[in-house]
């Protein structure tokens, strides 16, 4: 028997270690559509509770939009459930080509290639476009999928301190002997919600002859005046060589991702990116839904404007109530608590009060930087946020953290 009792025991101990380290991921069962209000069964077996969702990546509130659902149904009816093939054998339909063209137009790039997810796009892109003569210089807080993609690539790896342009320039100078230099960053960083200074990064890239890669998963659809992303926000449309992004957040929330950018780089991914070559095509139902999402957000900025207003409103509510939040403009608003246990206790009490948030702590974030990450949506109305802040204040009073500085919170709870 290959899976012996000894092996089983080892895995039990390993899982227990994950629990002891506070890293055990527990699924909460949602009994409703994804929306501002959802029904959550937690803990498992409990009656589902109606709660306000402040932790989804449903930035534009399109995950359950009736027109998106109708378009998905239409895709199902006219293009089927699946293609039973990778793209390059018999898995490319007219709608895949149409979605890639529309994403290209929306992102302001030269070409686009769909992937099953942005995780897959990031896992495949570097190996496809770089080799051992090149160097990848990444911000130290890039997403885990980028790290995995870099590890799969033979090019030299280097990093620069988070958003530190001086350090990035040092690295660009240091690596002038390499054939290609690729600067790698998130557009919006997922844990802090801050934006990479793409205007400065592009300027450095031009000065030191480097290419720029941006993962805009937490930005596409709502950052920038027309929601095209971080590059629009910083006025560098058309100057980013590779953009990866997801259809699983603002752009409908189902799944799927893409590599978009210079035509030759996208073509290299079409020829060599292994997650693209060896994964099934993105299902027609998702492609059809995503096409409707692009149609909706290209026709009007109403949703991203509402999200911007919700974000401003929520940031002001938290600040006025005396919470310590990470400054910024994205719809990721971290409420800083510094202590891991405090973050978990506050999240648990907020759930009891009807607010669904998650506490994050080391090693998900840096030591002593425990927090609750709140995320806004265009699906939220003012009354959701008013109810949420009432709950936050009630729980904040219980733990006596309102109006307290970082030092005072740490003095009480440790970090």
């Amino acid at each position: 028997m290959a899976f012996s009792q000894a092996a089983r025991d080892w895995y039990h101990r390993e899982i227990a270690g994950i629990r002891d380290a506070g890293l055990y991921k527990e699924e909460r069962f949602i009994h409703s559509l994804q929306d501002a209000d959802i029904e959550v069964e937690f803990p498992a077996g409990a009656s589902p509770a109606r709660v306000i969702n402040l932790c989804a990546n449903n930035y534009l509130g399109l995950s359950s939009h009736p027109e998106v659902i109708a378009a998905a149904h239409e895709g199902l009816d006219h293009r089927g459930y699946g293609l039973s093939s990778v793209r390059f054998i018999c898995g490319t339909q007219d709608i895949h080509r149409e979605l890639e063209r529309k994403l290209t137009a929306f992102l302001g790039t030269e070409d686009t290639l769909l992937f099953p997810s942005c995780m897959d796009a990031n896992a495949g892109v570097f190996e496809a476009v770089l080799n051992e003569q090149d160097v990848m210089i990444a911000d130290r807080l890039v997403h885990a999928s980028i790290v995995d993609g870099m590890r799969l690539c033979k090019a030299m790896q280097d990093t620069y301190k988070h958003a530190d342009m001086g350090h990035l320039e040092e690295k660009l100078v240091e690596h002038q002997d390499k054939r290609f230099r690729l600067i790698i960053t998130d557009g919006v960083f997922s844990m802090d919600g801050d934006l990479a200074p793409l205007d400065q990064i592009v300027a450095l890239a031009e000065k030191h002859n480097a290419m720029v890669f941006v993962d805009d998963s937490h930005a596409s659809g709502y950052i920038g005046k027309t929601g095209r992303g971080t590059h629009e926000h910083f006025g560098v449309l058309g100057k980013i060589d590779i953009i990866t992004t997801t259809l699983g957040k603002a752009l409908g929330g189902a799944s799927g991702g893409c590599v978009s950018g210079r035509a030759e780089l996208v073509e290299m991914c079409r020829q060599r990116a292994r997650p693209y070559l060896f994964s099934n095509t993105v299902a027609p139902v998702i492609v059809s839904g995503a096409l409707k999402v692009l149609e909706l957000i290209s026709a009007s900025t109403e949703r991203r404007d509402k999200l911007e207003e919700n974000t401003r409103y929520w940031r002001n509510l938290l600040t006025d109530a005396g919470f310590d939040i990470k400054k910024g403009s994205s719809s990721i608003v971290p409420v800083m608590l510094y202590n891991a246990k405090l973050a978990q206790d506050v999240a648990r009490d907020l759930f009891v009060e009807g607010i669904y948030v998650i506490g994050f702590f080391f090693p998900v974030v840096a030591k002593g930087q425990a927090r609750i990450r709140t995320q806004l949506s265009a699906a939220h109305d003012k009354h959701h946020l008013d109810r949420a802040i009432a709950a936050f204040i009630k729980v904040g009073k219980k733990y006596d953290i309102l109006g307290k500085t970082k030092a005072e919170v740490i003095a009480t709870y440790g970090n």
Partner: protein, 101 residues
């Protein structure tokens, strides 16, 4: 053990071998032993097969740097200790946090 041969290399007066000196000495002796006793015909055969498939093969000593933290293991190779350590550093920097979706 009558046939055992020794090489004794006296260090210059006042010189103390550093950690890196000893690592280097160990690596050189290990390389000599490997070349004499562990370079099997099986290796030759595998190289020939690779070359037959169009690969150009090179095998030589290199520096290995590794670090552990709990269950995490990071390692890197380099032509020089500096290169190996620099690569290890960047590998480990990426492992500092698990990150979040």
């Amino acid at each position: 053990m009558a046939n055992t041969q020794f090489i004794e290399v006296p260090l210059p007066e006042g010189v103390r071998a550093s950690h890196m000196d000893l690592e280097l000495l160990k690596a050189m002796l290990h390389a000599i032993v490997c070349l004499h006793f562990e370079w099997s015909s099986e290796s030759e055969k595998m190289i020939q097969e690779l070359e037959h498939d169009g690969w150009s093969v090179h095998c030589g000593p290199t520096w290995l740097a590794l670090c552990r933290r709990g269950q995490s293991l990071e390692q890197a190779t380099g032509r020089t200790p500096d290169e190996a350590i620099a690569r290890l550093y960047h590998e480990a920097r990426f492992d500092t946090r698990y990150g979040c979706p």
